[in-house]
Subunit: 313 residues, 2 copies
C-alpha cells in the first residue's frame, strides 16, 4: 500500500516508516524537521519506495499538493514536548489541532479516507481510576498538549461522521526507545553527563506511569489497523506495568555506571504544572485480540536508557 | 459581580444577560453580531450596568484589550448552526476552538480565572446508550460543531490544570425558546409560511431528542455556578423527556392553525450527515443538588413555537 506519514522523521514516525518499508509498502514522509531528525530516515533515502518531503503541516496549500493517491495517512506529527504548553500556549493549538485539521482537509480534497492517529493517555487528565479504559469519561486534560490531542481526536471523529472517513486512534502510554529526543530518560542522562554526582528530580519521584518501548508501540499501531474495522477504532496502547520516576533515576545511574549519586527532589506530587503524576492504562481492548507489549515498563525503560546512552539510531 | 458574556447578543447569551442584570450584576456583552442580534439586547442599552462591545473573538488583541477586571467570563459565542460544518469545515475550528483559545489567553493575561462554557450534548456523538451521563466515554462527535465543542472543553480544562483556572462546563440538550434563530422549529415555521400545505421533514421524523426551554437553560447555568465549586465542574443540562421531529411538526402545524398538511420525509434515520438521530442526557448530577427543568421537552417545544410565531423578544 501507499502510506503517508506526517512526522515520519520523528521518534515514533521514523520507526513506523522503517517497519512499513520492511513490510513492502511505499512510504512518504512529510516532516518539517522541527522535532524530527534527518538522521532517523537517512538509511531510507536511497530506497525507491521512500519519499521525503520537508514541509510544514500549517501550510495547507503545501499539504494539499502533496497528499494525493495514498491509501492511508499516519498522522504522527505534533509538538512532542508536553511541558512546553506552559510557556507557549499556542503551540499545541497550532501543531496539535490546526495541523490535524489541515491533514484532514487535504485528505478530504484528495478523497483519502483512512487516517491513523497518535493520541495520548494525557487526554484523560488526572483521575482517581487505578487503570483507565477507553470508555473513561469525561476526558479533562490538564496540559495544553492533552488539549491538542483531544481536539485532534474530535476533529478526526467528526470527519468520520461527516465525510465517511475511517480512523484508528491510539492513546499511547509514554513511548521510549532509540531516537527518543525528549522526556525523563533523556533529561536524566543529560543532567548526569553535566554533573555525575547529583541529579535533580522534578517532583517527589513517586510519579508512576507505564512506559512502552517504541517497537511495541509500532507493532500495536499496525496490529490495531489490521484487526479492527469499525468506523472509529480507538485504543489505549500500553504495557500492563508501570515505573516510578525514582526507579528510572536508579536505572539511569546504574546504566551509566555511576555510584553515590545524590537525588535532589524539587518536591510536590508532579514534575510540572500539567504533569499527570500517576496513571495506568487499561489496554484490554487491543490485548484481547492478541496484541501484547513484549517488554514490561521497567524493561522498556532500561532498553531505552541503553539506546540513548549508545546513541542508537 | 462584573460579568463578561461572549456571544451575549445571541440566543442564549442575551437571556443570560437579562437574568444577570436582574440579579444585580454588571454585564458586558462582547459579540460580533454574526449570529447575535442587536434587538436582543436593545432593552438593556440604557442600563448603566450594561456595556455592549461589537467585536470579534478571532481578534486576539481586541479581546485582550476588553477582558479586564471581570469576575467571571461566560463564554457562549460560537457558530450556532450544527449543520454548517458539512460545507464550511473551518467554521467550528475557528469559531469553536480558536475563539475559545483567544478568550482563555485574554483571561490569562488579565488574571481572570473563572470561565463558564456552553458545550453541547453533540460531543457524545452517536451511541447506543439510552441516556448519557457525563462519565460516558469516549466522546466521538460526528459533526464539526461537536468537534469544536470538544476541542474547546479540552482547552478550558487544560487552562484549569496549567494556570489554575476554574470552570463550569455545560453540555446542553437542544435549547429552544424566544430569540431562537435556527433549528428545527424555526425551519418548520419558515417552510410552512412559504407553503402551508406540505412540509418537508429531513430524515424519517423519528429523530428523538430532549428540548430544553431557554429560561431553564439559564437557570441551570447559574445553579451549577452557584452550587458546585470543584476546579472543573462539568454537567449535562437537560429535561428528562424527549420529543420526536414528527411530534414537533405536528405541534407547529397545530400552533399555526393549519390542517391537512402533508409531511414529506426525505428519509434515512438522520436529518443530515453529522446529525445524531436519537439521544437522551442523564442530568442526574445537577438535578441531585436541586435544579430541575420546569418544562418538559414537549412543553418547551410548544412554548418555543409560540415564541417564534409571535416574534417574542
Amino acid at each position: 500500500m501507499k502510506m503517508f506519514i506526517t512526522g515520519g522523521a520523528g521518534f515514533i514516525g521514523s520507526h513506523l516508516a522503517d517497519t512499513l518499508l520492511k513490510d513492502g509498502h511505499s512510504v512518504t514522509v512529510y516532516d518539517n524537521l522541527s522535532s524530527g531528525d534527518k538522521r532517523f530516515i537517512e538509511h531510507n533515502l536511497q530506497d525507491k519506495k521512500f519519499i521525503f518531503i520537508k514541509a510544514d503541516l500549517l501550510n495547507l496549500p503545501e499539504i494539499k499538493k502533496e497528499i494525493k493517491d495514498y491509501d492511508v495517512v499516519f498522522h504522527l506529527a505534533a509538538n512532542p514536548h508536553v511541558r512546553l504548553g506552559e510557556t507557549q500556549t499556542d503551540l499545541d493549538v497550532n501543531q496539535g489541532i490546526l495541523a490535524t485539521y489541515n491533514v484532514l482537509e487535504a485528505m478530504r480534497h484528495a478523497d483519502i479516507k483512512k487516517i491513523v492517529f497518535s493520541s495520548s493517555s494525557v487526554v484523560y487528565g488526572e483521575t482517581n481510576e487505578p487503570s483507565l479504559p477507553e470508555t473513561y469519561g469525561p476526558t479533562l486534560p490538564i496540559s495544553l498538549y492533552g488539549a491538542g490531542k483531544l481536539g485532534a481526536e474530535g476533529l478526526i471523529s467528526a470527519f468520520c461522521g461527516t465525510f465517511d472517513f475511517q480512523t484508528w486512534i491510539y492513546r499511547f502510554a509514554n513511548v521510549v526507545g532509540a531516537r527518543g529526543t525528549h522526556g525523563v530518560i533523556v533529561d536524566f542522562i543529560d543532567k548526569l553527563k553535566k554533573n555525575p554526582r547529583q541529579l535533580e528530580i522534578l517532583g517527589d519521584g513517586k510519579q508512576c506511569k507505564p512506559y512502552l518501548y517504541v517497537s511495541d508501540c509500532v507493532s500495536g499501531i499496525l496490529f490495531g489497523f489490521t484487526h479492527f474495522h469499525d468506523r472509529v477504532n480507538l485504543f489505549n496502547l500500553s504495557c500492563d506495568s508501570t515505573t516510578t520516576v525514582t526507579r528510572i533515576a536508579e536505572m539511569v545511574t546504574e546504566e551509566m555506571g555511576l555510584e553515590n549519586v545524590t537525588f535532589n527532589y524539587t518536591g510536590g506530587i508532579r514534575g510540572w504544572k500539567g504533569d499527570v503524576p500517576r496513571f495506568q492504562l487499561d489496554a484490554t481492548k487491543i490485548t484481547t485480540l492478541g496484541w501484547n507489549a513484549t517488554l514490561s515498563s521497567d524493561e522498556a525503560v532500561r532498553r531505552a536508557i541503553r539506546d540513548v546512552l549508545h546513541a542508537k539510531l
